[in-house]
């Protein structure tokens, strides 16, 4: 999924004729990927193009069609709309304006999209980092000791399904500030996947490895660093990926409620200005940033996953 969305825009630039029906609306729909996907395009294109043109088209055409359908429906809605829903072309022109200067700053309530994204990422980073610092060791402890697992599992089962936004008032009350409350919300929503996945990973360490540890009489520290940690790592990274995904979902909603600088607040602000084009741009930006986060974490996870974990 990631690769399909990731590769389509740049391939559209190379082999497709400039005025092609499919290519032009696509470039409008997703302006950001075109900028960021330059590097992979450079090494992917010369390798594949001369070899098997048919396979190449089968890979490129479906995602392009997908985007084309999206743009078409969007265009239809814009045409029928009487409330000023912006057309793809209008949004594209607005996007060019927005991205021409993403890092301007005219006071706290009027900053470029770049600053807003960075502010949101910073909150996610802080809340998520705290959650990792607490959740991963907690997951290890819960996975390793049956008693702790029995002690905390009911609590986790109770608290995990709670919408993260329900925690926002608690954060506001305790921390007496919008920013710490938003970070608190990220913390509480991203801690569960990390706790649960780490604990499951610890419980699923192959018994052969633990037998080795017992025969070699390894110290608890060696068991942790040489056996538990490496075999739990793939599970843990899955937890991290889920957590980042959730955090990125939640930050937009949290910022709508707390205000300040941030992509979520930006969406709300543009709604108050009735600037719908900017909201659509924000949706694409949020989607793209989420995609990049996911992609990076998948890359990290594959680096640390050993093919032959169990023969």
């Amino acid at each position: 999924m990631v690769s399909a969305v990731f590769h389509s825009p740049m391939k559209a630039r190379g082999p497709l004729p400039a005025g092609s029906l499919a290519a032009s609306p696509l470039a409008k729909a997703a302006p950001a990927p075109v900028v960021a996907a330059d590097r992979p395009a450079a090494d992917a294109k010369p390798r594949r193009a001369p070899r098997d043109l048919r396979a190449f088209w089968l890979r490129v055409l479906p995602p392009l069609l997908g985007f084309a359908v999206l743009v078409l429906i969007w265009e239809l809605i814009a045409m029928k709309s009487t409330t000023g829903f912006p057309s793809p072309l209008k949004t594209w022109q607005q996007a060019l304006v927005v991205f021409s200067d993403p890092f301007y700053s005219k006071g706290p309530n009027d900053q470029g999209v770049g600053w807003n994204v960075l502010a949101s990422l910073q909150r996610v980073g802080l809340g998520f980092g705290l959650a990792a610092a607490v959740g991963i060791p907690a997951g290890f402890a819960i996975g390793r000791f049956e008693f702790l697992s029995r002690m905390f599992n009911p609590l986790i089962s109770l608290l995990r399904p709670v919408s993260p936004l329900a925690w926002l008032p608690i954060g506001l009350l305790v921390f007496k500030g919008a920013n710490p409350a938003a970070i608190w919300t990220i913390f509480i929503c991203s801690i569960w996947p990390m706790v649960i996945n780490t604990a499951v990973g610890v419980q699923r360490v192959p018994s052969d490895y633990l037998n080795v540890a017992r025969v070699l009489n390894l110290s608890e520290w060696k068991i942790l660093t040489k056996i538990l940690f490496p075999s739990v790592l793939p599970y843990m990274l899955t937890g991290v990926r889920l957590a980042v995904g959730t955090a990125w979902l939640v930050i937009v909603a949290a910022e709508m409620l707390t205000g300040g600088v941030g992509i979520g607040f930006w969406v709300w602000d543009e709604w108050n200005n009735l600037n719908v084009a900017n909201i659509i741009i924000a949706i694409f930006v949020i989607g793209f940033v989420g995609l990049v986060l996911e992609y990076l974490l998948i890359r990290v996870a594959t680096l640390f996953t050993f093919e032959e974990v169990k023969a």
Binding site: D208, Y209, N211, V212, R214, V215, L216, N217, L218, S219, K222, K226, I227, P230, S231, F306, E307, E308, V309, A311
Partner: protein, 271 residues
């Protein structure tokens, strides 16, 4: 040291092992009485499902018997330890460590208190050289063949210089030529280190070539020791010369007779 230790270095008395399964309890072993002398090489042989590996795990201390007692050097075996090194059937190497690191892990635990870092590395290199894997020392288990992995497992156990070497069908997964080479290496090492070895095998030739005594087990469930055969072939043993040796042929026939004539109805017994 206590003199009787030379004959009863490992002492197994009245051991019974019962597993709880969803279908009820399953008796794997009963009435196991066996002593292994210091420096002795004992092979456990029997059809699959006869509890050979169960008995080995008990000696390793990985499982505890439901009844009876196991002693090693006059101390009850309460759990696993590096003085009883195990070569696992499925190599059990850690996939994120190189072969060198896998072996070093055991070496460190045993010798790091008394030896320098360089000495530990030398020990590791020697153990890998012994199994012919110097070239693969810095590869990960995923990058080498199944036979090579098993050789690393053997190197890991040998490098710890254990008092007892417990081997669970260590050469079962190897090709015939590599197996023969490693058997010869093992003979030479045991000769030199006077290690006490308990090896699970289903290979008759391997058992006769390597062992001082062959413990032949009856078919499971409720398996026990059927017969113990003393192999009085002079050491060092040479496989080529032994192939025509009359007593070798005699021992081989005795084991085959036990396995295929007297305990031959393994399918019927299991059904």
């Amino acid at each position: 040291m206590n003199p009787h230790l030379s004959t009863k270095f490992i002492d197994i008395a009245g051991v019974e092992q019962t597993f709880k399964t969803p279908k009820g309890s399953f008796q794997a072993l009963r009435d196991i009485h066996l002593s292994v002398a210091k420096g002795e090489f004992v092979a456990l042989i029997g059809h699959s499902g006869c509890g050979k590996s169960t008995l080995l795990n008990l000696i390793a201390g990985l499982t505890r018997p439901t009844q009876g007692v196991l002693l090693c050097a006059d101390k009850e075996i309460a759990g696993p330890g590096p003085e009883r090194a195990v070569v696992f059937q499925n190599h059990s190497l850690l996939p994120w460590l190189t072969c060198h690191e896998n072996v070093l892990l055991g070496v460190e635990r045993v010798f790091s208190a008394t030896e320098s870092r360089a000495q530990l590395k030398t020990r590791t290199d020697e153990a890998l050289a012994l199994v012919g894997l110097t070239a693969a020392a810095h590869k990960r288990p995923g990058e080498i063949s199944g036979g090579m992995k098993q050789r690393v497992g053997i190197a890991r156990a040998l490098a710890m210089e254990p008092k007892v070497l417990l081997m669970d069908e260590p050469f079962g997964a190897l090709d015939a030529l590599t197996r023969a080479r490693l058997q010869d290496e093992l003979l030479a090492i045991v000769q030199r280190t006077h290690s006490t070895v308990v090896m699970v095998t289903h290979d008759v030739d391997e058992a006769v070539l390597l062992s001082d005594r062959i413990v032949m087990m009856t078919n499971g469930p409720s398996a026990t020791i059927g017969e113990i055969l003393s192999v009085k072939l002079p050491r060092p043993r040479n496989r080529v010369e032994l192939a025509e040796d009359r007593s070798y042929v005699h021992y081989r026939k005795a084991v085959i007779d036990f396995l295929y004539t007297r305990q031959g109805h393994v399918e019927k017994a299991a059904a």
